[in-house]
Subunit: 197 residues, 2 copies
DNA sequence: CCCTTTCTGGATCGATCAATACATAACTAT
DNA sequence: ATAGTTATGTATTGATCGATCCAGAAAGGG
């Protein structure tokens, strides 16, 4: 940037931290229900700083969504790798989602929320599609490795299983948000787990 | 109402038809993205008539949601009863959802959309919860009857299966809205169907 | 006809929306 | 210290939001 002759004032807030806070707000309240005033208050900045840093509410939402997808993607990968057995790993992924929905039903999944709230916006829907593919890919990888370890019978298609689990995960988020209750989700889970047998 | 002495002007539009049209608009565009102007234009009425008949945008949304749940519930019951074999019936329910999402991905399911868009509103969330329970109940009934016919093995719990299918259905709607594609949904479906074996 | 009641729709309300303008503050190389 | 650049936050923009007001139209019993 125009660097010879004079440096400028330094930004007083951390952009990445601001995105994290915005993500949390969008997650809890949704895009439409989060006003610019809410964001400015949450981020403790003025509108001048806001627009200088993020351009618009919409752009910040997209950056928040990217951040969410990245965090959740890493978390999924980590959980799938942490357990030594694929069934335990998958169960852990799903039970942690069930617990999260029971603890805070209003949140749900930011990707799912985006898909139902921003259906017309290409920049949002493209990311939703990519996020689903990313979950599919992570699960397919873990299932393939499990298959080579002999934990999954050879006649199963890891990709089909991954697509099934990806779909089921989205369903779990919805029935969680719908407050169907722990018993409901765990009944569904116990049936779904048999798909790996 | 104050009937002796004078009758009043008759309403010029059909309330139930208006609710159907409003339902369709809310379904396509969501609650926040549907303005009062949009509704008045779609229903071809003025704001006076609107508020006299429906009270508020929010109340009309609730009535639209009730209408949607009633229509979809009847449709589900009918499909489950139409087929002679439970597997064919369940498959029909799911493939028709997949086709609907492929035809019009922006719509999705109004109940699911409500759960992610109106998370704070008790009148909305109560209906979402009830709608999920209703789907569970319809499926459980059909599965029980199938079990007495010997189509489902006796060691299975119809309620568990119903909860699984209910959850999976919600997932199908989400991956459909996420534009994961026909192949994706059909792979997931083929795995899910094995839960009935 | 007249009277009472309800429906209708354009005008209008205050509130709030996202976004901009602008004066001032902060910062660094010179 | 000064000059040049960017950050900051308040004030303000025009637009739009949901909702209300109200004058006139339509209806049928008297």
């Amino acid at each position: 940037m125009g660097y010879p002759f004079a440096m400028a004032r330094t930004r007083e807030f951390d952009v990445d931290q601001a995105i994290d806070r915005a993500m949390d707000l969008f997650w809890r309240r949704g895009y439409a229900e989060t006003s610019l005033q809410d964001l400015l208050k949450e981020l403790s900045i003025g509108s001048g700083s806001f627009y200088a840093a993020f351009g618009s509410k919409e752009e910040l939402y997209i950056r928040s969504l990217d951040r969410y997808i990245s965090l959740q993607g890493n978390d999924l990968e980590k959980t799938l790798d942490s357990a030594t057995e694929i069934r335990a790993a998958v169960r852990k992924v799903l039970t942690s989602l069930i617990e999260a929905d029971l603890t805070d039903p209003a949140r749900g999944c930011l990707v799912v929320n985006t898909s139902t709230q921003c259906g017309e916006q290409p920049s949002a829907t493209d990311r939703v599609t990519a996020a689903v593919r990313q979950v599919e890919s992570s699960l397919a990888g873990a299932l393939e490795r499990a298959q080579t370890r002999g934990e999954i019978s050879a006649d199963k298609d890891p990709r089909q299983l991954a697509r099934f689990l990806t779909t089921f995960i989205q369903g779990i988020r919805i029935v969680g948000q719908a407050r169907a209750g722990r018993e409901f989700a765990e009944d569904a889970l116990s049936v779904a787990m048999r798909a790996l047998d």
